[in-house]
Structure formats: C-alpha cells, structure tokens
Amino acid sequence: MKMFSVAHKTVFVVDHCPYMAESSRQQVECDVLTKSRAQGVIPLAPVSKSLWTCAVECSMEYCRILYDVYPRDKLVNYIVSDSEFHILNSWRREDQTTLELMSALAAVGPPNPREDPECCSILHGLVAAVESLCKITELQHERRTAMMDTAERVSNRGRIICLTNAKSDTHVRMLEDCIQETIMEQNKLAAGSDRLMAIQQCDLVLVHIYPQGEDTLVSDRPKKDISPLLTSEVHSVRAGRHLATKLNILVQQHFDLASTTITNIPMKEEQHANTSANYDVELLHHRDAHLEFFKSGDLHMAGTSTRENGLKETITLKWCTPRTNGIELHYCTGAYRISPTDVNSRPSSCLTNFLLNGRSVLLEQPRKLGSKVISHMLSSHGGEIFLHVLNSNRSTLEDPPSISEGCGGRVTDYRITDFGEFMKENRLTPVSESSHDPSLKLPIERGKAQLERHTRYWPMIISQTTIFNMQAVSSDDEETQERTTRSPFPRDEQYRIMWNELETLVKTHAGATDRHQRVLDCIVACRSKPPEEEERKKRGRKREDREDRTEKNGSKETEDKSWQDSEKSVVRSENIPNITDSPDSPEPLNKKPRLNSDDLQPPDRAKGPVSLLSMWTNRITVANSRKHQEFVGRASSVNNKFELYQHLKEENGMDVHENGKASR
C-alpha cells in the first residue's frame, strides 16, 4: 500500500437526522435468567438498537480494527450530520483513538426524533467531509517539508464512508453529484493555500441502512467512476448484524487485511478448572502475512474455508506447543499487527492476555500428511501483538564455509570476553524525542562517536597487548595468565612494550582535554630515565639475562605476594609454584621474605625508574591502609618485630581462663 493511497484518509459521515432514531427492529435479549433464579420472575422485555446505535457501533468497530492494525498514519475523521455538521475529531495523530471518538459521540447523543426533518440532511456532513479531505495531515506536511523540490510526489487521496438512510437511487445520485461539485470547488480553493491540498482521488462508499423487515429503497451498486476524481459504490444493508458484517468486510478490503483463525488453543474451563478444551480465535492482520499461501496457490492446504455468513475467508493455523523462547532469533520475513475480530470474547481475551504477558506461540499449518510446518509466530512487543511470518523453506545460505575457515579464522587468542564487555558498554537505549536536545547530534550519531572513541586503540588478540591483559590478570581467565607469563621477551623488554602500549593508548585520547594531556605527560615523564641509570642498566643487562632464569621463581614470587595484597588477586596465588605442600606440612621456610617484600625493595630497583608493579603495590597499600586502622603492633614495631600479648605479663601471671572465671 502506498503511503498516500486512499487509505491514508478516511472520513466517516454518519447520519444524525431524526429518522435514524428509528428502531433497527433487531431485538437483543439482555436479561438472561440463570436457572436457579428463574422461578416467578418476569424477564425484562428485549431491547432494540436504533439505526443510529447500529451505525455508531459498527463504525467504531471499523475504527477499532483499523487503529489496532495501523496505529499510525491511517487516519479517520468522524463527522456527524443533522441540521448542521459536527466534526468530532481532527486528522491529528493524538485524536486517533476510539476512546476519543466515543466520548465525542456521547456528547452528541442519539438523534432527536422531534427535530424538524426538513432542516436535516446528510449533505451538510458530506460537504464537510470533502473540505476535510483537503486539509493536510501531519504526515503529508512532514513529507512535503522533507522532500522540498519533489514535494509534488505527496498525493492527496481519501475515502468517504457515508452511513445513512437514503430515500432512493435518485437521492443517492444527487449526493454523488453534490460531492463531485464540492470537490471541484474545494480544489480551486486548495490551489491557493499552503495548508490545503487538492483532492486527486476520492472514493465514496455509501452504506444505506434500513430497519429489519422492511424492503430497501436503494439498490446495491459496485464501484464506478463518477469523474476522474471520484468513484462511488453503494451498499444497501439491513441494520444489526448484517451491517456489522458489511463493515467488517469493508475494513478488510480498504486496508488489505486478511483473517487467520488460530485453532486448538488449549484453555482451562471456567467451571471445571481441571479440564481444558480447545478453542478457536479469529485475528485480522495485513494480508501479506499470507503472501506465501497466496503465491504458492497453497490456500487450500493451509486450511482455508469460505464462510457462509458472507465474511471473507480465513486461514486456519494450529496452536503449537512447545513454546519458543525470546533468546532465539527466528528468521522472520514479516511481522504484522493483529486485531481480534471478537475482541472481548473469552477465548480472544485469554489468547491476547497470554501473549501480552510476554509469551510467544508458534503456529503450524494443519496438514493431513507429511511433517509439520511451522509458518508463523504470535508475539507481543511493548503491548502490541504481532503475527510474525517465519521462513519455512530451504535456505539458500545453507552449508556456508565456517568462519574459522576464512580470514582470521586460524587465530585462537581473540579477546572475545573483552569485546563482549565492549559491546555491553556500547549498547543502545531509546532517547525520547522530548528529551533530545535538537542542537546536539542525534543520539545514534553520538553512539557512533562513542564507538570511535572506544576503538582508537583496541588490540584484537591477547598476544598483541600487555596492558589489557594486566587488567585481566585479576580475573580467573587462566589462559590469559599463561600467555602473559609465557611471554618470549625478557623482563625489561616486556616493560618497554607495556610502556609503549600505554603511551599509544593515552596518546590517542590526549587531544580530548587538558587533563588527558596531563595523563600523557605523566606517562612520558615516568618513562624518561636518569642517564646514569641507563648506563647501569646496560652494564647489568648481561648479568640479568644470565640470572634471569634462576631468579625467575624468586622474583615472580615477590611479585605474586604483593599482588596478593590486593583483595582481588586471590586466585593468582594458585599459580605460585612453591605452595604445593599439604596443609599439614610445617610452616614454609620462606615466611620471612614475604613479610619483608613490601617495604624492602631490591636495591637496584629502588634507584631505577618506578616500576609499574611498585606503583601498583603502593597504590593498593595506600588504598587499603585508608580502610582500616593500622595495627598498633606494626606501627610501633622495632625492626618489624613487636611482642604480642604484653599485657598478660602485667596481670600477676594469672591464667587468662581462670581470671575470666574469677571475675564472675
């Protein structure tokens, strides 16, 4: 359907003249007596709806279905006509709800049978309808503004549905002529206005309503061209359920709808909670949800049935257990909003509530033979129910080469977990149009900008990076740890790589603010070493290399111990090679060095540039010391030694336990 087809604008013109107050003569029994109370009670006489009531409730049903399936930009303008016209709403989007129309109708009330019939006419409403069709809608305005020099592509078409009681075929012809004339007049007016648009096509659907048991004075007539601008069709319908059926068919025709009946819905019985029966629910939706059936000529197989009551045919789909979960990404070729035909029947409301509570149902085609084919899924999103069309054919993409066979497929140390975190940080969230500051970039552009910032330096594999792995050391990713410790480079080469990387990372952001620049300056400053230190390093390197192997265990241990001080790195201790003894074995001999490792730096390190390890250790120590009061013993220790429980000596040498008892 084109954006600006006749379906964009529908004007309802409903007759409010005195004769519409007449009874439809279809009686409704509303006092259904229950068996237990039937004794001696005279039931209420059946009530009957007026022609007006029939017209109003059927037009409301038309709008209900329309708004359910097209909540936006298929617009209705409701006009009531008696001695003058009453426009009950506008084309504005906020006016497009049945609730809005219902309260406006309540204010209008039923036709006044005592009003002078001579003053009353449907013509007032029809003229107003043509005028209304010339009024520009929000969507038309938006598109015209956006398209600038191609604005003429925005068309102005519309439909007038007139519910009335006409006097004769001649009367109908008179109405058509009058509409035609009004269109010509209004188009002339529209040519000179910005807020009006000339009508390019108008479809008149005239529904003549007459009471049951009477003969119609107006004959049915299929659609015909009155002029290049106007087509007209006439439906002569008895009030009551015939009218309801007619408008149901019309709404389906006008908005390309089709019907699906969900069958075999298991429902608990109201009376007997333990038993369940199967129910059917009919839904309307855009007919493209059946496209596959129509195309393949498979309609019959899909369980179509033409119904006797004159309604259009429906396609049956079977409720299918098991249900699907939301984590699965189905291959879905279309999703169409639905509207139940019988919205407040118990089976309908059971189904819709089930779906609104967030559950989805797969639907299968009923077939006598062969495997079951799941072709649709019902699912709700944000309080709206959609019929999803699932692909049930063979995929042309089957058996593709696995991603591991292609470029980059052999690499095994991608930073999958880190990129997962990255993705989570770069998730999106809706920003309401009211809270968006139009002077700023659009939210999505800000999302792109954030991605740009976050990827200025982002190594894709673990072996390409040191700094991001250090972050990961505290996690329990053993593989990462192995990789970092297994580095082929000697220790100070590793530091050099790390510093280089850190500098690269910070450099990419240094331009952002002065403070970013200061971080970069700091890193650069940390790296620059005093000249004599460089000399010494050079001399020492040979020795270091030689000793590296033997020292490795020892130095690594020191490193480990200090890491252990931070609360996070407990797991790391499992890697320390010398804690392999059983818990019962005597105290390990190297307890002393552990105590010393924090404050006794190896002499050559103390002079050199600050190592990252000691920067980090100091940071953690300072942070920890803020969290607790320093142990008195350590604070007043001599050579890191302090005698514990000194007070016991002062208490007459008495046993602590006995002392405790005595005081009782």
Binding site: K2, M3, F4, V28, C30, V41, V47, S50, T53, M60, R64, D68, Q96, M102, S103, A106, A107, G109, P110, M147, R153, V154, E292, S296, G326, C332, R337, N344, S348, S379, H381, G382, G383, E384, H388, N393, T396, D399, S402, E405, G406, G408, V411, Y414, T417, M423, K424, N426, L428, T429, P430, V431, E433, P443, R446, G447, K448, L451, W458, M460
Partner: protein
C-alpha cells in the same frame, strides 16, 4: 539468490556460424562456451550460489538440480544433445515447478535463458503464447510472472540486428516485461564468434554475478568483507521515493542490542558476511606470475592467521547472545549476528530491515537510540536485569484495554450479567458493581443506546424487590440509587440540571459528580450504623 540456467537445445541452436579460416562452430557451441565461462567465474568468485541447469525444446528436462558443484554443471553442458523445436512457455512452467519445489514462493531467483532468438513456430512458439495471453482459463495461465521475485536475463546467441529483423526482440521484450521487468536482454556485439559471446557473458557477470565487497566498520576497527548474496536495491514506495535505495559499501556498526530485545525482527533479506583479504586481488597481475602461484597457499594461510575483526565480532556476539545494529544507508539499518547451522558451523550473518527511520516499532526511531553511557543510570541495570526495550506506544491497542463491543448479543448479555452478579453481592461488591455499571453506561451513552440504560435500571429495581430479608440495608439503597441515576442518564442531561441546579456539563461529568456523591452517601450510611 539461486540461479536457473535454461538452455535452448532446439535444432536451430545447431545452425553453424561461419567463421572465415577457422573450424566451424554451432551456435550451441558458442552458448556452451559462454556458460562455461559463467560457471568458472561463479566457481571462483560466487561459489555459494546454488545453480540448476535445465535444457528445453518442446519438452524440458532438469539436467542438474540446484548445486554448488560447478564441475557437475560444466560436465552436463558437455553432454547436451539436440532436440526438436523451441517452446518457451512449457520450459517456463518447468522453471516454476523446479524453483517452487526447492525454495518455495518467497525466495528471489535469477533465470538465465540462453537461446538463439529463434523462438519456435506455430503452436507452442513464444509468439503464439503471447498472442493468446488473454484467452486463457485459470488452469492454463501463462507462467509469468512467477510467484517468486524474478530476475530474468535473456542471453541471445545472436546480434541485435538479427533479432530486430523478425519480431523476436519484441517478443523477448514482452517476456521480460511479463516477468516483472527486473532483468535484461543481452545480445552479441558484432559478428558471432567466441570472443563476442565471451563479451556478452562478461557483461552478465558484471551485472549480476560480481561479488559485493564492502568494509565493515565499528569505530576504528574494520574488516573487508564480501556480502553474499549481493544485497538488492529496494524501492519502498514508488510514489514518494521512486529511486531504489542501495546498500552502502561502508557498513557502519552503530551499537549493540540484546537478542531478546531485538526479538525476531522481520527482515527483507539475509546475507553472509565473509571476511576477505583484499590485497591479494590488487596485485594479482604481476611480473612473477610463477612465484605467486607458489605463494598462494601461504598467502591464504597468512590471511587465516592475521586477526580479523569479523571473527572477533562473531565470537563475542555468539558468546553474549547479542546483535550489532548496522547502518546500511542514510535511513536504512540491519543487524549482524552469529548464526550456527545444523552442522554447528557458525557464521557472521547480516539481515536487512525494511528501509526507513523506524523499521521495528519496539525499538522506536533508530536515530533516537543513543549510548547508555549518556543515560542518568544504566537502563540495563547494574546486573543486566533490566532492559529499556520494548518501546511502548502511547495508545494501547483495543485488546489491551477493556473495550466494550456489543455487536454480538452475547457481548451485551455478558456485560449485563456481570452487573447483576455484582448487584446480588452488594454491599461487598460495591466497587466492582459501580465499575461495571459505569463501563456499560459510558458505552451506552456513546452508542446513543438509551433504551439499554432504561432496561438495566428496571433490572436493578427488580433485583431490589428480590432482595432477601437478610440483605444488608445498604444493598437496597445502592440498587435504588443506581437505577435512578441510569434513568436520569437515559433521558437527557437537561433534566439532571433541573434536579441538581449546580450540575452542568457533559453527561459523563455529571455522572462523575453523582458517583462521588454516591460514595459519600455510602460512607454516611456506614457511619450512621
């Protein structure tokens, strides 16, 4: 998009082509040569395409069902035999059957019809088929347009002048129009020879079988990719925007979403996103051709071993159960996700949404999705327990609100019974009683169904007389009062104004006031006791 090659094997295809000095060829040989060239191209550059080979004369035959085995297709070409006359219509019926059986009616297909432009004679000829188009019953309809979207490529082993000398060109153009107009008629430039036929098939390859290369970006991370099958241009509304929209060769990730939030969205097509090494293609023509041959395996190994963003993205999307939202054009988006087939082979896939600013109502406008870091607090919650999706529309749908529909008598009866059931349980059910009564009253006023209001008022009065002696006095009061108010509402607001001088406004406002008053009275009753 699967391809069907439909090869004319009628006798006219065996007509010799006069080439001075060299050996004699039949038109069939030239066609086979051209098709071999196409198959070789596909085997190396478009090998995921499924292709079927059919031969036709007055009958048709499926020689090779849909396959990616291009050797099998070439082999079948070498074994072609010669038959009688050309009958395009029956062959098209054959194509229709073969395609629908394999792919259903939604999958777009390409049809390569190879013929010499002599389109049969008499009954069964294309001319006859087209002349009788309008005189057919439902069961004998012309097979075009096919139910599935079709691209029709007509490869004529003949030059344009030759075709225009008869009505062949007109008939072929009509055929293309009938198929939906998507496709092209190719003819040989200049005299028929190997080279000119090669040229014609070369144009087909460029037009329809050249791989779609793009660059996938995520900020500064990127990867060269091939998107397979080629994304097709899309026209959403031929009136408002008749220019087809095409997928950009820069695919830009704009952010990430959870699979549960994107929630099986409708898509117009699905594509594999295959990382490619671009440099290899650039320096394919070089001096040391032999060296390159030796290096080729190592080059592809190198490509396998150098990290690629697609592989990283695929791995993380798979582990986290997320999708990447990707921008394809000015107002066109799609999603990237990891997809595993039944054999556990996993791949990076891209699905395209319908072009437009709001392809999925439950995400809202895509341009209004922003980074979570700008939100006051993380909308996903600190432990990922929440989600800002789905976006809920302002107005509720009819099935999500308690609408009143009395088109069927049962709807009205149920609503009346509900009121009566509650009426019998007064004063315990006072609140529900008034809620239901108010709903009925509101609908009756909107529908102008005043007779119903009178009827229900009578029913309530009857209930009042049927109250047992043990009933609470408040029950009788509520029933009488409600009945009275319904009667007032069913006449006219003016009467209400007479009785309650201070009341004015619409009927619903009046009722609201009455309802408030009523509640007050009930309290008064309770207090009195």
């Amino acid at each position: 998009m699967p391809t069907v090659v439909l090869m004319d094997v009628s006798l006219s295809m065996t007509r010799p082509v006069c080439l001075d000095g060299s050996e004699e060829f039949q038109r069939k040989n030239l066609a086979v040569h051209g098709l071999n060239m196409l198959f070789e191209h596909m085997a190396s550059n478009y090998r995921l395409e499924f292709t079927a080979l059919m031969a036709f004369s007055s009958l048709w035959e499926l020689l090779v069902p849909f396959t990616r085995d291009y050797n099998a297709l070439q082999e079948a070409l070498s074994r072609l035999e010669d038959y009688d006359k050309t009958c395009v219509e029956s062959a098209l019926n054959g194509v229709n059957n073969v395609v629908q059986q394999e792919w259903g009616s939604a999958c777009p297909c390409q049809l390569v019809l190879v013929t010499d432009g002599s389109l049969g004679i008499g009954k069964g000829s294309l001319r006859h088929s087209l002349q009788t188009l309008k005189q057919r019953g439902e069961d004998k309809k012309f097979p075009l347009p096919f139910p599935f979207p079709t691209k029709l490529f007509i490869m004529c082993v003949a030059n344009a002048e030759e075709l225009q000398a008869t009505d062949a060109m007109d008939n072929l153009e009509e055929l293309l129009r009938l198929s939906g107009g998507d496709g092209q008629i190719f003819t040989v430039d200049g005299p028929l020879c190997m080279k000119s036929v090669q040229g014609m098939f070369g144009r087909l390859i460029d037009f329809a079988y050249s791989p779609f290369h793009a660059v996938l970006h995520c900020g500064n991370l990127s990867s060269d990719v091939q998107v397979f099958p080629r994304p097709e241009p899309v026209v959403v509304d031929d009136e408002v925007e008749p220019m087809p929209q095409t997928v950009s060769t820069d695919l830009e990730i704009v952010g990430f979403l959870e699979i549960a939030d994107i929630s099986s969205p409708p898509v117009i097509s699905r594509h594999l996103v295959l990382p490619i090494a671009v440099n290899k293609d650039v320096d394919e023509v070089g001096a040391g051709a032999t060296d390159e041959l030796e290096e080729e395996p190592s080059a592809s190994q190198m490509a396998g071993k150098s990290p690629n963003f697609c592989v990283l993205l695929h791995g993380s999307l798979k582990v986290e159960g997320m999708v990447a939202l990707v921008q394809l054009g000015p107002e066109w988006f799609g999603m990237l996700y990891a997809q595993a087939d039944s054999k556990k082979k996993s791949n990076l896939m891209m699905s395209l949404f319908e072009p437009g600013p709001e392809p999925l109502p439950w995400l809202g406008k895509i341009s209004h999705l922003g980074p979570i870091s700008e939100a006051a607090e993380n909308p996903y919650g600190e432990d990922d327990s929440k989600s800002p999706f789905p976006v809920t529309p302002q107005a509720k749908r009819s099935y999500a609100q308690n609408v009143t529909v009395w088109i069927k008598a049962s709807g009205l009866q149920t609503d009346v019974q509900k009121i009566l059931r509650n009426a019998r349980k007064l004063p315990d059910k006072t609140q529900t009683f008034y809620k239901e009564l108010n709903r009925l009253r509101k609908a009756a006023l909107a529908f102008g169904f005043w007779e119903l209001l009178k009827g229900v008022a009578e029913l309530l009065e009857r209930e009042c007389t049927l109250l047992p002696d043990s009933a609470h006095p408040d029950a009788a009061f509520q029933l009488t009062h409600a009945a009275q108010q319904l009667k007032l509402a069913s006449t006219a607001t003016s009467q209400l104004e007479l009785k309650h001088g201070r009341l004015s406004g619409t009927a619903s406002e009046v009722f609201h006031v009455l309802f408030e008053e009523l509640k007050g009275t009930r309290h008064f009753f309770v207090k009195m006791r």
